[in-house]
C-alpha cells in the first residue's frame, strides 16, 4: 500500500486506510474463531447442566447457575483472546453473547436428565 505524500493527503489516506482496515476482515479466520467459541460454550453448557443436576438445583437457581457458568466462560474467552477482542473478532457481542441461548437448551437437557435417577 503506497504512502501518501503531503500532510492533508496522508491524513486522508490514514483515515481511509483505517476505515478500510475496519471493514476488511479475514473472514476465514473470523469463522474459525466463531467455531472455537461455539464448541467451548456448548461443551461447558453440557458440563454445567450435569453439575446442576448432581447438585440438585431446582427452579430459578438452576438458570442462575447457567448464567454464572456462561459469564465465567465469557471472561475466560476474553482472557484467551488476550483482552484484545478486535484482533480476533469484529464486535464484543461475539465473545459475550454468541452461543449463549443455544447452550441453554443443552444445559436444560442435561440438568433435568439426572433427575430420572
Amino acid at each position: 500500500m503506497a504512502v501518501g505524500h503531503g500532510d492533508s493527503s496522508s491524513s486522508d489516506k490514514k483515515s481511509t486506510d483505517a476505515l478500510t482496515d475496519l471493514q476488511t476482515f479475514n473472514a476465514e479466520n473470523l469463522q474459525s474463531n466463531m467455531k472455537v467459541i461455539y464448541y467451548s460454550r456448548t461443551f461447558l453448557s453440557i458440563i454445567g447442566g450435569v453439575i446442576a443436576g448432581i447438585l440438585g438445583f431446582k427452579g430459578l437457581i438452576g438458570f442462575v447457575f447457567y448464567f454464572l457458568v456462561m459469564a465465567v466462560t465469557s471472561a475466560a474467552l476474553t482472557a484467551k483472546a488476550k483482552f484484545s477482542i478486535h484482533s480476533y473478532f469484529d464486535t464484543w457481542n461475539r465473545v459475550l453473547l454468541d452461543g449463549f441461548f443455544g447452550g441453554l437448551m443443552s444445559f436444560v437437557l442435561f440438568w433435568t436428565y439426572p433427575s430420572r435417577f
Binding site: N26, S32, G56
Partner: protein
C-alpha cells in the same frame, strides 16, 4: 491439544464419579427416609475440580484464535505469496542453451498459496 483432551477426559471421569457417589448417597437417604438437600462436601469439591478441568479443556481443545487483520503477522505468508504470484517471470532453457524469458504473468492464484 492432546494434553487438553486428556485433561477433559479426566474432568468428565471425575464428574461421572461424583454423579455415581451422589446416586449412592440419594439411595442411602431414601432408605433412612431423609430429604436430599445436597450432596456431601467431598462430592461438591469433586464437582469443582471436575468443572475446572473441563473448563480448561473447553478453552484449549477447540483451537487457537486466529487474527482477523489482513496485514497481521499470522497472515503475512498468504499476502507475500500473493505478491510473488502477481510478479513472476518464467525462464525456459532449451537443449541448445537458448534462454527464453516469458513476459510477466499476472495470475490470480492466492488460494494455491494457502
Amino acid at each position: 491439544m492432546g494434553l487438553g483432551f486428556t485433561v477433559g477426559v479426566i474432568g468428565v471421569l471425575i464428574l461421572g464419579h461424583a454423579a455415581y457417589s451422589t446416586i449412592q448417597y440419594r439411595s442411602l437417604l431414601k432408605i433412612t427416609e431423609e430429604e436430599f438437600s445436597g450432596p456431601p462436601m467431598e462430592v461438591v469439591l469433586e464437582l469443582l475440580v471436575g468443572l475446572l478441568f473441563c473448563m480448561w479443556a473447553a478453552l484449549t481443545v477447540p483451537g487457537k484464535f486466529l487474527s482477523v487483520h489482513p496485514h497481521s503477522d499470522e497472515n503475512r505468508y498468504v499476502s507475500l505469496c500473493v505478491r510473488l504470484r502477481y510478479s513472476q517471470i518464467y525462464c525456459v532453457v532449451d537443449f541448445t542453451g537458448n534462454t527464453y524469458v516469458t513476459l510477466v504473468r499476472l495470475t490470480v492464484s492466492c488460494l494455491l498459496c494457502i
